[in-house]
Symmetry: C2
Subunit: 310 residues, 2 copies
């Protein structure tokens, strides 16, 4: 069974990790990752979602924060602080090596997808990780304080400005990275990880060809909203600011027409019935991935239900 | 007494440090530093000579290597190596912070000289350090293996290719950094540190206005060649490859017409007599700066002789 996942950062990484552990052959998994949160900082190209996914699948992730690397040190940032430089985006020493080497190779003309593949080989990631595109497609968050680059909104301003909308700059002209459409078309099922619909999944869906590649197969979205709250980050706040009540239902409606299956947490079981007219299959499950084992169990149950249904 | 020094990396930094310690007011010292060895690596702007001078005057230098910072760690480089990235140019963790923050500020439009001034304040450097120009003027080493960027020749190829000549790219169009000409014109004496004449001092002299600013005052060159050998680096090898016998005399002849005083080590005392027809004042002194105290003593003696002569 070939599986593809559309994923953002921490939530997407955990979900992908569970799926990789659950699949008999981890190489049967392709994770297509958002690059709308990529940015330049200190002259370096930084790809937070991509790195979080790769670190997590390599077992190198920081288990406390979910982002960055485990057993990290902060000697560079401390010395940057001593020079009065910006420290709002925390770059650990080991993590910095990723940004340095990626920037070096990009400047030498290597495409991002090839660099990610090479890093994954070096780190021993058994699944395939693909940036959705090699082209820069920066997410701009339109807020009551103006249009903000994503990381300025997300990390620097701690997602406090009120959201009015989003712009995926250059998305319509971007080309999917080599292998992305083939992986989606060749997959037996495609999952939308429980990532932020607006700034993790939508920027992936905005790349030409991605939506069309989802047709004719199970497309299963997992709700990132449980009990009216986001598992992590600003998803619930964004729904509210855009005029929706944050709920699993709101997520399902956001993806309506594109997904064949919707998975919501048992805490939201009461919303399932009303959704059955909007999404062909609605599954109520225990979606909380509190541990690596819980991630794997969740993925195993999802795969089990998929096989049952087919 | 206002003193200016033209300086390259390690030798220039030690000489400047001695002078700073010897002067009653360290703020009376301006060090004008070579930027021909600046380069881009991993997308970062790296200024090895400038950093060596600043670290040394701040007491932050690595006393073993002469370059880089003391109490350094190498976590980033180790992680770069794990990705198969280049490690020929060793970047310590603390040192990297300098390159990150400099690159960030350059990209924000700040001129290099202003960034260096800000770093020197943060590090507590009491003397004034000026890059000779804010414009990029990369030194290209013409060798039997082709034209090599300076750090490729110097660090990556460990100065093994045979030198045929040098090119200071863009020098004729470069503007001296704010304060450089004023510092040279306002100085009571200008020293050429015992740095490499070809790749440390000449690239400074190549910036328009610098040579003219030396007129009408004591200009004292200290020989970087002692006993036919370079104190450090490829100076002797370069003289030989360019067709000269490496010696203090060859250095004096290289600077002839520009300098009023030449200082050679007592090991080369026998060459002094022959030089008196070429340089107005020839001083035989103990020029070896084996310790910070020796640097200071040497600078004190130089200042003493200057005052005696005036």
């Amino acid at each position: 069974m070939r599986i593809a996942i559309l994923a953002g950062g921490v939530g997407g990484a955990k979900f992908a990790d569970g799926m990789m552990r659950a699949l008999p052959d981890p190489a049967a998994l392709t994770v297509v990752v958002n690059v709308g949160d990529d940015f330049e900082h200190f002259g370096l190209k930084i790809c937070p979602d991509l790195d979080t996914v790769c670190y997590t699948l390599a077992g190198l992730e920081n288990p406390t924060t979910g982002w960055g690397r485990r057993e990290e040190t902060w000697h560079v940032m401390d010395a940057v602080a001593a020079l009065g430089g910006p420290t709002w985006f925390r770059l650990g020493d080991k993590d910095l090596a990723t940004h340095l080497e990626r920037t070096r190779r990009l400047r030498a003309g290597e495409p991002l997808s090839q660099i990610v593949a090479s890093f994954c080989r070096a780190w021993g990631v058994p699944a395939r990780v693909l940036p959705v595109t090699d082209d820069p497609v920066p997410t701009i968050v339109l807020t009551d304080e103006g249009a903000l680059p994503f990381q300025t909104y997300f990390v620097h301003r701690r997602w406090q400005p009120k959201v009015l909308g989003f712009r995926f700059e250059g998305a319509s002209r971007a080309r999917p990275a080599p292998g992305v459409l083939e992986a989606l078309q060749g997959a037996d099922a495609v999952f939308f990880a429980p990532s932020n619909p607006f700034v993790s999944i939508d920027p992936i869906l905005a790349i030409p060809g991605v939506r069309a590649s989802l047709r004719g197969k199970p497309v299963i979205a997992v709700s990132p909203i449980v009990g009216g709250k986001a598992l992590k980050g600003p998803a619930a706040k964004m729904f509210r600011e855009l005029g929706y009540t944050p709920s699993a239902q709101a997520v399902a409606e956001h993806y309506q027409g594109l997904i064949t299956h919707f998975v919501l947490d048992k805490a939201d079981a009461s919303q399932a019935k009303g959704l059955r007219s909007k999404v062909p299959h609605v599954w109520v499950m225990d979606t909380i991935m509190a541990s690596p084992e819980a991630r794997q169990r969740f993925a195993q149950k999802l795969l089990g239900r998929l096989l049952q249904a087919s």
